[in-house]
Symmetry: C2
DNA sequence: CGGGGGGTTGATCTCCTTCAATCAACGTGG
DNA sequence: CCACGTTGATTGAAGGAGATCAACCCCCCG
């Protein structure tokens, strides 16, 4: 546990923004109240480390608000992001008492935490939690495999386009706007974080973003505010086939 | 379903080589007999495709014997392996009726199959299956993330060394021999398959294997038979830190 | 003997990294 | 209020790791 995190008041599960998508999504009223009793919130500032790889981890948690990254670092400092944690995503692994990755807040972050032992205990008695966690883990596995294709086979330009497309699509779904035509959003990551995610250097990231701007695929206002005039055009740059991705 | 696969006689679950490690690992006698009633075996020849990405998939299965690969291909032919399926590994996703990846046998392959609907049905009533599947999926997710680090940040030489180390270690555990000092094993993959796994070209794979041989890290007899005179030396070439990997 | 699959090696090219300078935005202390 | 340092980003020049294109080898099999 890091020193400068803040402990904040619990919110009612009924009003929780991630109620229908997190590990608790399938829980009945009685199951939910069990979780409600044991939950507690923690918040972190942008840039703050939630946990270091190898640290003892006595809790599991759901991201309620904000964005965090999951990353691995080699001895010589090379680092690779292995996951982007968005609201409703789950942190920690039942049955594992040490963190396997570094978890870092990139924006202000609020997490809904459960001490590990009681959570695992409840999971044994509540199939709904395990079922939902399985579903979420399978989704993460698909995402990880999609990322393996990106890391192993895509060009720098395709990597950038793919990342932008993913963020754009996520943002559009969140705002309930259409994923076609013009899309506007803010980048939640620094150039360095993007580089760590994409297996590139930050200079290459910067150059490719400039190139996409020069070619009219995107427009930039400041460093972070992005306008995609034609989402289809962006998709063409990702190298993915035109249809819906994993499900052909 | 491919045309030239063979249907073979069922084996008794009690004698099954993967009984204690597959999805069925935690099942009680009664649960096991339910699975036993619905299971059927299929075999495939080396090089044969088990299923194509996008195909309808009416079954799930466990690998009983042999090795298969899970891979993704882009329209222009670039392909990336996203998983290596070894005995006891699970194929297919409950709740998904189309394959998300190409599955190909690299050796002669035997799978223990279950039709999807009855399997999902049983899974609802049998928490032991879901629990074990969750555990296995979490392991796969860890493996995928380790592979992301390899694909995104390791050099060609480190990639080859890492792959050799993984195969060597797996082989040693299988033979119950020590993972230190001299290790001998056979490569289950062609140079091309290795390239697809590592995000390299087959030429680079060949060159780096030659380099490791030249430097005395490995010895080759034929194209496939490998001797690692000093496993620690090989580990030094992987770029991973000396201690146990994911669990620091 | 011919042919093909799998593998090695060489020459060249290119995309991305590396190293470095520069810039804009921002905060801070004299 | 301005000099200064810091952080995040852009851009340039040079170099290198790995890709690409191509020739050739080995071995098995029909």
């Amino acid at each position: 546990m890091s020193s400068s995190e803040t402990q904040i008041a619990n919110q009612d599960c009924a009003d929780c923004p991630i109620r229908h998508r997190a590990v608790c999504a399938r829980c009945e009223a009685d199951e939910l109240s069990m979780l409600e009793q044991m939950k507690y919130y923690r918040s972190y500032e942008p840039g703050q480390t939630v946990i270091w790889s190898g640290d003892r981890m006595d809790f599991v948690a759901s991201v309620v608000e904000g964005i965090a990254t999951l990353s691995q670092t080699m001895e010589d400092g090379r680092t690779q992001m292995v996951g982007l944690l968005l609201p409703s995503d789950f942190v920690g692994r039942p049955g594992r008492d040490h963190a396997a990755y570094d978890v870092t807040a990139t924006t202000r972050l609020t997490m809904c935490c459960f001490r590990r032992a009681p959570f695992e205990d409840l999971m044994q008695r509540t199939p709904h939690i395990g079922q939902r966690l399985l579903e979420m883990t399978l989704d993460e596995l698909d995402a990880a495999r999609e990322w393996m294709l990106l890391l192993g086979r895509k060009t720098a330009r395709e990597k950038i386009a793919s990342l932008l497309a993913i963020i754009a699509r996520r943002d559009a779904t969140l705002k309930l706007s259409a994923t076609q035509g013009q899309i506007v959003f803010d980048l939640p990551l620094t150039r360095e974080a993007m580089a760590d995610y994409l297996g590139l250097t930050l200079e290459t990231v910067s150059r490719q973003i400039s190139a996409l701007k020069r070619d009219g695929v995107i427009e930039l206002e400041g460093k972070r505010h992005v306008t995609v005039p034609d989402f289809e055009r962006l998709m063409d740059e990702t190298g993915d086939d035109s249809d819906g991705g994993v499900f052909a």
